[in-house]
Chain length 333, copies 2
């Protein structure tokens, strides 16, 4: 295992230590286990709390997006493992400013079970809460069964748009929930993997793939995709990924979208821009306008090679929320 | 070769196309060959121009740092190859606002030859210019022969500090040059490589390294380092890198530094934060204060695995310039 770490069992806690040491004005470790990251300065009284959580190994997801204009708190699991119930509860308590808490996270079985339980436990204390699941990966289920899809990089758009709404004074839990659902419904993603990453505790690649093979639609934990075959050109990859996402959302001429071209980890900026070039040309040819594009590392699987494409359809409300201020090491607007 | 691209020969031009398509408010392609990136909006009349250049394959270096508060223009070479003389000339012309131009770039033979020639050619047109070379890699020559060192991630601090000075109305070429020299003299770096990257035109790894081996002090193009041996713990790597850099700069208790923990490409944020944790603890124990730390990808070698550590010693002048506003996709302050 060729990774820069100390003991594999300390990978997550030392990462959180380092994040808080580097950005003490943004992040604060809290919770009984220390596996909750909350804002260094909590939100205003009466603010709807927005919490998330998930496995480690995806930075900037999930923890990196705790900041004003984004999340209030995040429960942190082991690498590729959901957060514990107690940490979900502690994240909700850290986010609670008396106006209720929205649980906004990617659609994975373990995360759902534990966040649902945390919702029941905090209800006993009188905390109001709601859930919106992000399920943007078009490769993981058909359009008809979209509620079964996994959450991938689209989670970032959901955080940004929802976080901006929750930052508005007077916004209720119901309104924040409505906006989160609207954002999630208008977002779709697909990824392509070229190589695996290594989970520290496992010490070996999560999956094997041939020297010239790729897998279209693979999930961020190596979940199976749509097809496995020979590596194609960047333009061919971009065209297929874009078509699948556009078809799913039914986006056509005259619409406005934000586009995210996201590295799964090792794929460099150069190659993301080559993909973006192709995507932006295809969208221009279709009469679709790009707003506030994102090119970089937003949702990764450590050192996995590959990239994902996310489209977030925008109307006036969502675009204003997407552009609203936020300030953390991984998002500034 | 498992990379996301079209034709290897188009790698650089398509990357530049993508950057300009994604960020048309920041970057503009110019120059006879199209291998110059200039600010979308030029600096004010009478501003000292700051230009750089270098090989491709290091994004965000070098081109990514063209923006207000940073560079005015950058000449772009092929992957790991210096920019052509004509592109250096065109970059200088794009940066020229009548107050002279500083050529600020990493110390590599080919780059020097071509930028020197560009200086002579533009002098014939009456343009005043000066050169400051960044030579921050402590592994590449002894302290006594530091002028022979290579430029690595410390280039980013030189850009930021110099760019901020050049943004001050009335700052002369001599003053901007003085600040650039001061920043460069107060900066040192070292890197550790775990795996090679692949240059698209070559199609195979630039160097071979064993499955459990690392190379301390390797350059960003795979230049030989100080030692090659077994992978150590993150804490042991951090301690050795920090000691080498501290010794070189002679930094001790009571001083203020900015610290950059930089991924060479594939190494993920998690591992950068594990390194940062160790570095920040060691510095605290030595009584050295950290100001405005940087953890992320600032100077890469595409998908190379590894990390570098840079320390920028600060006084009041340099700290204010480091914190001054700049706004590009890769730096916001």
């Amino acid at each position: 295992m060729k990774k820069i770490l100390n003991q594999p069992d300390d990978y997550v806690d030392e990462t959180l230590d380092g994040m808080c040491a580097a950005h003490p004005d943004v992040y604060r470790r809290t919770g009984e286990s220390g596996r909750v990251i909350a804002r260094a300065e909590p939100g205003f009284e009466g603010k709807v709390g927005v919490v998330s959580g998930g496995g480690s190994g995806h930075l900037p997801l999930f923890t990196g997006y705790v900041s004003p204009g984004l999340l209030d708190a995040c429960a942190v699991g082991n690498v590729f493992a959901g957060p514990a119930i107690g940490d979900c509860v502690d994240a909700m308590r850290a986010a609670d400013q008396g106006a209720g808490v929205l649980r906004l996270y990617g659609n994975y079985g373990g995360d759902r079970m534990n966040f649902d339980m945390a919702g029941e436990l905090t209800e006993l204390d009188g905390m109001r809460s709601a859930t919106v699941l992000v399920a943007d990966d078009v490769a993981s289920a058909s359009h008809e069964e979209r509620a079964k899809r996994r959450g991938v990089a689209g989670v970032v758009y959901a955080y940004k748009i929802t976080g901006a709404k929750a930052e508005q004074r007077g916004a209720s839990l119901e309104e924040v929930t409505r906006v989160a659902r609207k954002a999630v419904d208008a977002c779709a993603s697909i990824g392509v993997a070229l190589t695996s990453c290594i989970v520290p505790e496992a010490g070996m690649p999560s999956f094997t793939i041939g020297d010239h093979e790729i897998e279209m639609g693979m999930g961020i934990h190596g979940e199976p995709g749509i097809w496995r075959g020979e590596l194609k050109s960047a333009d061919a990859l971009a065209a297929e990924m874009l078509q699948r996402v556009l078809n799913d959302l039914g986006i056509g001429a005259g619409e406005r979208v934000s586009v995210m071209v996201n590295s799964l980890g090792a794929t460099p900026y150069e190659e993301l821009y080559i993909l973006y070039r192709a995507v932006s040309r295809e969208l221009a040819a279709k009469g679709v306008s790009i707003v506030a594009p994102l090119v970089g590392r937003y949702a990764t699987s450590m050192e996995m090679t590959g990239a994902s494409l996310t489209l977030q359809r925008l109307d006036g409300e969502l675009e204003a929320l997407l552009r609203a201020p936020a300030n953390c090491p991984f998002w500034r607007s």
